[in-house]
């Protein structure tokens, strides 16, 4: 039974808004958790426990003057953050967050779009999202921006290879590129984190680099580059870049839960609640790492990506393939 189109539409609307809400409160959670880890309170003035802080931030960003440098090239400068935000939001659509239900005879799927090559789609949209950073930095007419763009570019391209190779083992075990199917198979067998622990580690590390989070936040190293590719952006245009970064982080956590931690599977059939809890745990790990580890130097970053992460991911994929052929 397929889903009627109006349910798909409603669901898409709902998920996009939930995702944006999640992004807004992720910024608050990050500041709160970081504050606690650094022995301070974090935001606590807007509303109780600072709960209105994201809304205050949004109002500030929207009302701020969106100036552009006089040398900026108009159309690419304006379109760049839109590309980044769009691809980030679109990528979440294939992540399954529930088993799917039948209510009053209407079928409701547990994901916005069930695509046969869902995993590839996430990577394809991720690689298109880079263009927002490149075009934005290039169009800003600023040395800091262009340097930040170059770093972003080199880093994302380098770690994308390891990221794609690290999921190969999961694809071999799950025998599909379709994310709901991979989750189903983990429900039948076991979460793939057990046979693919190395793959999970590589995926997590490469994922941190892909989302430019500390300790891999070289694209926006404040001491060297002011803010990297978005140096010359202000107001909500800057907000869109920030949104893209955080939503990429959410999508990556969702993908990690889907691929390695059996997605929405868990005791007592809680479905989406399990998905959210697992995703929150991964996001917490992201924030934890940011407060714990110092930033890498650029040559360390490149050496680690190409000489450690890539060989490990390759060996993991080859060994998994051999084992699957031998025992599968």
């Amino acid at each position: 039974m397929t889903e009627p189109w109006w349910i798909s539409l409603l669901k898409a609307f709902l998920i996009v808004n939930l995702l944006l809400g999640l992004f807004a409160y992720l910024t608050l959670v990050e500041r709160k958790v970081m504050g606690r880890m650094q022995l301070r309170y974090g935001p606590n003035r807007a509303g109780k426990f600072g709960l209105l802080q994201p809304i205050a931030d949004l109002v500030k960003l929207v009302r701020k003057e969106a100036f552009a440098p006089s040398g900026a090239i108009d159309i690419p400068y304006i379109v760049a953050p839109i590309i980044s935000a769009f691809t980030a939001i679109a990528a979440f659509s294939v992540i399954p967050w529930g088993p799917g239900w039948t209510v009053n005879g209407w079928r409701i799927d547990g994901e916005v779009a069930n695509v046969s090559i869902g995993l590839l789609l996430v990577f394809a949209l991720g690689s298109l999202g880079i263009y927002g950073f490149i075009v934005g930095g290039w169009a800003s007419e600023s040395k800091f921006s262009i340097l930040g763009t170059m770093r972003t570019c080199a880093q994302l391209v380098s770690y994308e290879v390891s990221l794609a190779l690290s999921v190969l083992g999961v694809v071999l075990l799950g025998r599909s590129l379709n994310l709901p199917e991979i989750v189903h198979r983990q429900g039948e067998l076991l979460p793939f984190v057990a046979p693919q622990f190395v793959g999970m580690l590589v995926f997590f590390i490469a994922g941190i680099a892909e989302t430019s989070r500390a300790p891999f936040d070289l694209p926006e190293a404040e001491q060297e580059l002011v803010a990297g590719y978005h140096t010359e952006y202000s107001g909500m245009r800057w907000g869109l870049f920030q949104m893209a970064e955080y939503i990429n982080m959410i999508t990556l956590s969702g993908l990690m839960v889907t691929l390695f931690f059996a997605g929405w599977h868990g005791p007592w059939n809680l479905g989406p609640i399990w998905f959210l809890l697992k995703m929150a745990a991964v996001l917490f790990a992201f924030i934890w790492l940011r407060t714990t580890l110092p930033r890498l130097r650029y040559d360390q970053l490149m050496r680690f990506g190409w000489k450690v992460l890539l060989p490990v991911a390759t060996i993991n994929a080859v060994v998994t393939a051999a084992l699957v052929v031998a025992f599968g």
């Binding site: 394809a124 690689s127 298109l128 490149i134 570019c153």
Partner: protein
């Protein structure tokens, strides 16, 4: 499969938009004077081609096209152009010249050739829709074809890529040695010397 079951009108609309975008972006690639815009137009062209692949149930090829060409390869193009290319040039500068005329004639000849070739080989089959089975265009099916029917081409391609990778490494290491001599061993004392000088 998705596109075929979604109804004829929608398919036609998407096809028309993708085909127009494909043509417009390919014209833009060759007519823009600023290479940065040409590269952006090429990304658009690859993207609209991917949509066309989707319409003929080749989802895997579409995703691979976006991932490999529109994603990885074009990032490298833009990377280099953003480094060394001109920035302030307008996207459009240049009028008709003998090159344009030659290009238009060659493109027209190619179009006629393609239409004739397809028309001769397809016969009457173009006017009715073909039945497509469920495995068509799936990753499993393409993988099987690569390792059976097209094994030789597949392996030769991998050797070409390997040679390119080795060549890249040789070029890179060669220039580095020329530039800074025995840089790794020398770096530490030199930094100390610099510090001395500052003091």
């Amino acid at each position: 499969m998705l596109a075929i079951s979604a109804g004829g009108g929608l398919v036609w609309a998407v096809w028309a938009i993708a085909a127009f975008a494909c043509l417009a972006s390919s014209v833009a690639v060759v007519s823009f004077a600023n290479p940065f815009y040409s590269a952006l137009a090429l990304i658009g062209n690859l993207g609209s081609l991917a949509v066309m692949y989707l319409l003929v149930s080749a989802e895997f090829v579409a995703a691979a096209q976006v991932l490999v060409y529109a994603g990885a390869v074009m990032v490298m193009f833009l990377f280099v152009i953003a480094y060394v290319g001109p920035r302030r040039e307008a996207p459009w500068a240049g009028g008709p010249s003998w090159q344009t005329l030659g290009a238009v004639l060659a493109a027209g000849a190619l179009l006629v050739e393609i239409v004739v070739a397809i028309g001769l080989s397809a016969g009457g089959r173009l006017s009715r829709s073909e039945h497509v089975n469920a495995t068509f265009g799936s990753p499993e099916w393409i993988g099987r074809l690569f390792l059976t029917d097209h094994l030789l081409a597949f392996e030769i391609t991998s050797i070409v890529l390997l040679v390119a990778a080795v060549g890249g490494v040789i070029l890179g290491s060669h220039t580095r040695r020329q530039d800074s001599g025995a840089a790794p061993q020398d770096a530490e004392p030199r930094r100390e010397r610099d510090l001395e000088a500052v003091r």
